[in-house]
């Protein structure tokens, strides 16, 4: 697997660090890690940077994760990047909403690096 550029979107800076560490523990080689505290910040990051993978929380201020995923359709720098939601919201309706909005995967908090590996690696493999 090639080294990838990841965008991690979560209003908790601690959680962003945990997600990054979990990706590395899962064996994902990261050439660049970009961070954003909500969906609007993430769109601003994507205006300047191309990414290969997006991991996104749902409950965030300003612009939540579902709205952000819906906003990605016209964003060229994210057109090839699978989106995986990482959230405490574990309801079936949230999963359905996330997947129908364009997310490719869903991980519930609390999570293990193994769960990150199971959900993320296949998406990167498909992309490669």
């Amino acid at each position: 697997m090639n080294s990838i550029r990841a965008l991690i979107v979560d209003d908790s800076s601690v959680m962003r660090k945990i997600v990054e560490r979990s990706l590395r523990q899962a064996g994902v080689e990261l050439s660049k890690v970009l961070e954003a505290g909500n969906g609007a910040e993430a769109l601003a990051v994507l205006a300047e940077n191309q990414v290969d993978l997006i991991l996104c929380d749902i409950n965030m201020p300003v612009m939540d994760g579902l709205e952000f995923v819906k906003s990605l359709s016209g964003v060229g720098n994210a057109k090839d990047a699978p989106v995986v939601m990482i959230t405490t919201e574990g309801s079936e309706s949230h999963v359905v909403q996330a997947l129908s909005s364009g997310a490719k995967g869903y991980i519930r908090k609390p999570f293990t690096p193994d769960q990150v590996r199971e959900r993320v690696i296949p998406l990167l493999a498909v992309k490669a």
């Binding site: 209003d11 908790s12 800076s13 601690v14 959680m15 660090k17 945990i18 560490r21 409950n59 201020p61 959230t87 405490t88 919201e89 574990g90 309801s91 079936e92 309706s93 519930r108 908090k109 609390p110 999570f111 293990t112």
Partner: protein, 163 residues
């Protein structure tokens, strides 16, 4: 673990949720902090040491407040374990980490109860430092509380139920 939300819980005064709350908390600490909580009957006299509180509101089919209380030292240690850094290097991340712990316990708890996962929303966490305050619930409310030792330091996790 999954338990029914309405009838059984109401009949038992929500006490049936107590083991669910305990499991929800244990899982968060094991998976995200890499440590086990020890069940301990810490006396309420030690509550003066608990000078950090994190709260997450629940609204929908269950209305209430989930809270976790600990000392600042314990909260700092939680942050260090979450970040994988030395406790001495943890700074302002402590409140963020402490809020996230409460958020994950609340989410994990509701996701284990049939009917609550879809029908209950969580607020963003609020963290209070200091212990000289009184919580006044606006409705007659039941409460669940579990007490643990986190690396020998007491923590109290509570769910105040409004309806």
């Amino acid at each position: 673990m999954s338990v029914p939300s309405d009838s059984v819980a109401a009949e038992n005064g929500h006490q049936v949720w107590l083991p669910v709350l305990e499991v929800a908390a244990r899982e968060v600490f094991e998976l995200m902090l890499g440590c086990e909580l020890t069940t301990a009957s810490t006396p309420e006299e030690t509550d003066d040491q608990l000078d950090m509180t994190s709260m997450v509101g629940l609204a929908g089919r269950l209305c209430g407040v989930m809270s976790i209380r600990s000392s600042r030292k314990a909260a700092g240690l939680m942050a260090s374990k979450m970040l994988g850094v030395d406790p001495a290097k943890v700074g302002p991340e402590t409140t963020d980490a402490f809020g996230e712990v409460c958020n994950m316990i609340a989410g994990n708890f509701k996701n284990k109860i049939s009917g609550l996962s879809d029908g209950c929303m969580l607020s963003v966490p609020t963290v209070i430092t200091g212990n000289d305050y009184t919580l006044h619930a606006l409705a007659d409310s039941a409460g669940l509380e579990v007490r643990f030792l986190f690396e020998t330091m007491p923590i109290v996790i509570a769910l105040q139920i409004h309806s």
